[in-house]
């Protein structure tokens, strides 16, 4: 076996050194009647070339996604990823190593995390960044739990325009705490401010708002913050499309107390849903209640500036059942991907992508409206995703798009059952769609 260097002869030799006559003696502790009597019933070992053939054959059962252009986002966005990033990620020193418990042998990982914390802090204007929770949904759930710990209250308000998977995940995480979760309805594609004013009471721990929201609308977070902070309630700002931070105002400028952001857009492939990564941002005053790992700067005995995992007394391996979270293995390689991506993009690049995404999305919306086959559902500002109600049947529209090599937009009725959202599509546009691509979409859909 190519992955197991020990020969049968060596095994015998080693057993002799151990002082036993057979392997059997080493597993005496395993009760005989529980042992497997037969070989596992799985396929016999494949050679590397057979394996490659098999997986290639299975891959062919997917669509040829490389040559298809996505019109779908909804929490997962296809952006261009520079080859330099992919190349660097393959360095074994990064992807074969463990969690950086030994800083002397892990400065590469640790410094990279520190740089990433610095980037996200500037993008979100939050003081403290927890770099790596599994994904946006679990990060949002962790943010909700954090708000319960900080306020000692047990009620939260969740915007109905938070990604449905995130809402479901929060529910699952909070079930054991019997937290009261109140649904905040929307009005004209944005949070219903009047309802918000009615719902906020002193017993509310936090309110969770996504912006841009699931329909694509950009919420007026500053105004929401003003309302929310009239009571002692924490404002949690969720971001599913972090690329929007290149142009939109930072959550920290608009009063967010905690930010939970899906970082997938920063150089991570779609990968049928994972692995992605998410960050949490907050204020320094809340640092004792943050979940997960964080990296800080210090010096070594020679006075060199170095980086270590820090504020560890909150973590599960030290605090056990009193830890702020159970999170251990997270998504650090994705943190590295995002760090390299942001380094390559730089100040100007991130701004330009963000700008391009905004403009091309608005361009497509305009084109589609001009076909006369679509109408707006809501009239609110959006970044790169928008809803359109179709006069034709959306299933046949999506079929047509698929036949023309576009991954079709999301049928919003899959997540929202309101009558006025029937036959409505959620389009997403990123820089991977050229102006020609968008013209083609409009042409196909005008026929």
């Amino acid at each position: 076996m190519r992955y197991i260097p020990t020969t049968e002869e060596q095994k015998k030799e080693m057993l002799k050194k151990i002082g036993v006559s057979s392997f059997e003696a080493l597993i005496e502790g395993v009760p005989q009647n529980l042992r497997l009597k037969n070989k596992l019933n799985i396929p016999e070992a494949m050679s590397e070339s057979e394996l490659e053939d098999k997986i290639y054959r299975i891959a062919k059962k997917n669509a040829d996604f490389y040559s298809m252009k996505p019109l779908i986002g909804a929490g997962s966005y296809r952006h261009f990823i520079p080859e330099a990033e992919k190349f660097l990620l393959q360095r074994e020193e990064f992807w074969t190593c463990y969690t950086p418990y030994q800083p002397e042998l892990s400065q590469g990982t640790l410094q990279s995390i520190f740089e990433y914390q610095s980037y996200i802090s500037r993008l979100t204007k939050m003081e403290v960044i927890i770099p790596s929770i599994y994904d946006g949904a679990s990060a949002t759930a962790e943010a909700a739990l954090m708000s319960l710990r900080l306020t000692h209250k047990n009620k939260i308000i969740v915007s109905n325009l938070l990604h449905p998977h995130y809402r479901e995940t929060i529910k699952t995480y909070l079930t054991p705490h019997e937290t009261e979760i109140i649904d905040l309805p929307y009005k004209n594609g944005l949070v219903d401010m009047d309802k918000l004013k009615i719902l906020i009471e002193e017993d509310v721990a936090s309110i969770i708002i996504q912006s841009p929201n699931f329909f694509g609308g950009i919420e007026n977070m500053a105004k929401i913050s003003e309302i929310v902070h009239s009571k002692s309630i924490l404002l949690i700002n969720v971001i599913t499309e972090s690329m929007s931070l290149g142009i939109l105002k930072a959550p920290g400028e608009m009063g967010a107390d905690i930010v939970a952001g899906n970082a997938q857009s920063f150089g991570m492939d779609l990968n049928y849903g994972g692995p992605y990564n998410a960050y949490l941002g907050t204020r320094k005053q809340y640092i004792r209640q943050i979940p997960g790992r964080i990296v800080g700067e210090t010096v070594d005995v020679d006075g060199k500036r170095v980086f270590v995992m820090t504020l560890r007394a909150r973590e599960q391996d030290i605090r056990r059942e009193k830890a702020t979270s159970n999170i251990c293995t997270n998504h650090n390689l994705n943190v590295l991907a995002a760090n390299i991506f942001l380094s390559l993009m730089g100040t100007e690049g991130l701004y330009q992508i963000s700008l391009l995404n905004t403009k091309s999305a608005h361009y497509l919306e305009n084109l589609l409206l001009q076909t006369g086959k679509f109408e707006r559902v809501f009239d609110c500002p959006f970044y790169n995703e928008f809803l359109l109600k179709s006069k034709d049947d959306i299933s046949s529209i999506n079929k047509k798009l698929l036949e023309n090599n576009f991954v079709p937009p999301l049928k919003i009725c899959e997540f929202y059952q309101e009558k006025n959202l029937n036959n409505v599509l959620l389009f997403a546009v990123t820089e991977v769609l050229s102006r020609d691509n968008l013209n083609l979409v409009a042409k196909i859909l005008s026929e």
Partner: protein, 501 residues
């Protein structure tokens, strides 16, 4: 090493974007003023070549598995096959959107579905969920499944039993799942104290979370008795699969009576650790618990010969993440199992157990074992003999680095009187006898140094890119971003050599 920000030069760039052909669209007409950031967010300004050099240099400050021995106990740092990375980078997979029409992602679904079946056979369980992103995430899901199962039966329970040798994630997950954690002490043989377990198990207890072999590397020979005690009071048995590498083809948790199992695919199943993830912490359950699995799962319709996302139904604990799984990790797992086959899996466990016992046999004269008995796939020794020379286990670990290897796990597990100053060594099947011999020689040499030149250890490491770190200062200063550092610039006063190495 210099930070990326310290290499930034105004006006430089490293990006490449399509030409903006949307000159006719004015941004002010797209977005209202109150939504737009006044300034561009300041990142860094670096050319591509400098980014590549920066991260290449950073990588050289790391020690990876391909550099050599990495015997971290309970982490199963085994070889990560290169072909699996290539397969996971096929464009039909990496560009597959999770909400793309089902007919376009049949390949992804087939892999997830098939892997589910393979893992059921390997562990003796009835059904898996592929959703959990990591071991602890799986633990939480598994605990919520147990919780819901009892609530549905009108049998609300409040306690969870966890051995003192368990990973910290176990009690942390149980607490997140709303349970009161009750610790079960180990006996003098290092395994679960059956008498105490029988006393603690009652009808207010959901069950026991057990790692087997446990974190000291010992098979719990009382497993049949444990099963009777827990099930006898109507409880459920949870299997922490962190140490499954000792069991493949030998014993299946399902056959031993476990009701819920989580597997760390980044441990036993060879997917890379990535400097702390991503992994996957899939969970398998027995028949009665299937309705409680997270939603959705992937099912197969034999009539239409089609895979589809299937809602788990009313009893499900719900979603635990966005979308479906860490698919790329699942694909690598699938490829590894197919490469190994049934004989390869048995060989994996057999070799890792022989490796660990070989290391133990050769080292026990120099480092007292926590328990002097045969172990599973990892062995736990202690460094306490050297305390009288002023040498701690930490010093031994740091000295190992000077000899070009990664140290084992230290100070875990920790419970008195046996397991203190512990050194937990896991030499997986992918390590050769020659590598083990080299490690053993180093450890013996260090034991000699500990008695003759202890200061060599207490000041170690000497040959690493950096040396021992001031962790207390990190907490005190709380410099968590570059901007934090800038604010303290006058106080810090780094010299060039301190930041450019």
């Amino acid at each position: 090493m210099k930070l990326i920000f310290e290499k930034s030069i105004k006006g430089r760039d490293g990006y490449s974007l399509p030409r903006d052909l949307f000159g006719d669209i004015k941004i002010e007409e797209c977005l209202p003023e109150y939504t737009i950031s006044k300034d561009k967010k300041l990142l860094s300004e670096i050319s591509e070549v400098d980014v590549v050099r920066h991260f290449t240099k950073l990588s050289k400050l790391n020690y990876g598995l391909d550099d050599g021995f990495y015997p971290l106990g309970s982490c199963t740092m085994k070889y990560n096959p290169k072909i699996n990375e290539k397969l996971a980078s096929l464009s039909n997979f990496i560009y597959a959107h999770p909400l793309a029409p089902e007919e376009t992602v049949q390949g992804c679904m087939e892999i997830i579905y098939d892997l589910n079946k393979l893992l059921c056979e390997i562990t003796g369980m009835d059904e898996y969920t592929m959703a959990p992103a990591a071991g602890a995430h799986g633990e939480l899901a598994g605990i919520l499944i147990m919780r819901k199962y009892f609530i549905d039966r009108g049998d609300v329970r409040h306690k969870m039993l966890i051995p003192d040798s368990a990973h910290g994630t176990n009690p942390a997950s149980a607490a997140m799942g709303g349970f009161r954690v009750v610790e079960v002490k180990s006996n003098e043989k290092g395994t679960v104290n059956l008498g105490e377990l029988a006393k603690l198990m009652d009808e207010d207890t959901v069950g026991l979370m057990l790692t087997n072999p446990n974190t000291v590397g010992l098979y719990d020979e009382g497993i049949e008795e444990i099963e009777k005690i827990i099930h006898g009071k109507g409880g459920l048995l949870y299997y922490d699969g962190a140490n499954l590498n000792a069991s493949l083809g030998i014993i299946r948790p399902g056959d031993a009576g476990f009701d819920v199992v989580h597997l760390n695919l980044h441990k036993t199943f060879s997917t890379p650790h990535g400097g702390g993830g991503p992994g996957a912490g899939v969970i398998g359950v027995k028949k009665d618990l299937i309705p409680y699995l997270p939603t959705p799962n992937i099912a197969f319709n034999p009539d239409q010969k089609k895979y589809y996302l299937s809602d788990a139904g009313e009893k499900s604990i719900g979603m635990i993440r966005a979308f479906w799984s860490n698919f790329a990790v699942l694909l690598k797992t699938y490829a590894w199992i197919l490469s190994m086959g049934p004989d390869g899996l048995y060989n994996t466990s057999e070799t890792s157990i022989i490796n660990a016992n070989y290391v133990l046999a050769k080292l026990k004269k120099y480092y007292k074992p926590a328990y002097d008995r045969y172990c599973g796939h990892e062995c736990t020794v202690t460094g306490r003999e050297y305390k009288k020379y002023g040498v701690k286990t930490l010093d031994i670990a740091k000295r190992i680095m000077d000899y070009g290897m990664h140290p084992p796990t230290i100070y875990f597990p920790h419970f008195e009187p046996y397991a203190e100053e512990t050194i937990m060594i896991e030499p997986p099947e992918s390590e050769s006898k020659e590598m083990l011999d080299k490690f053993i020689d180093i450890m013996i040499k260090i034991s000699d140094e500990a008695t003759t030149k202890p200061e060599l250890l207490t000041t170690a490491p000497h040959n690493t890119p950096i040396r021992r770190t001031n962790d207390a200062l990190a907490i005190k200063r709380a410099i968590l971003t570059y901007d934090d550092e800038l604010k303290l610039k006058d106080e810090l006063k780094y010299q060039e050599k301190d930041i450019d190495f």
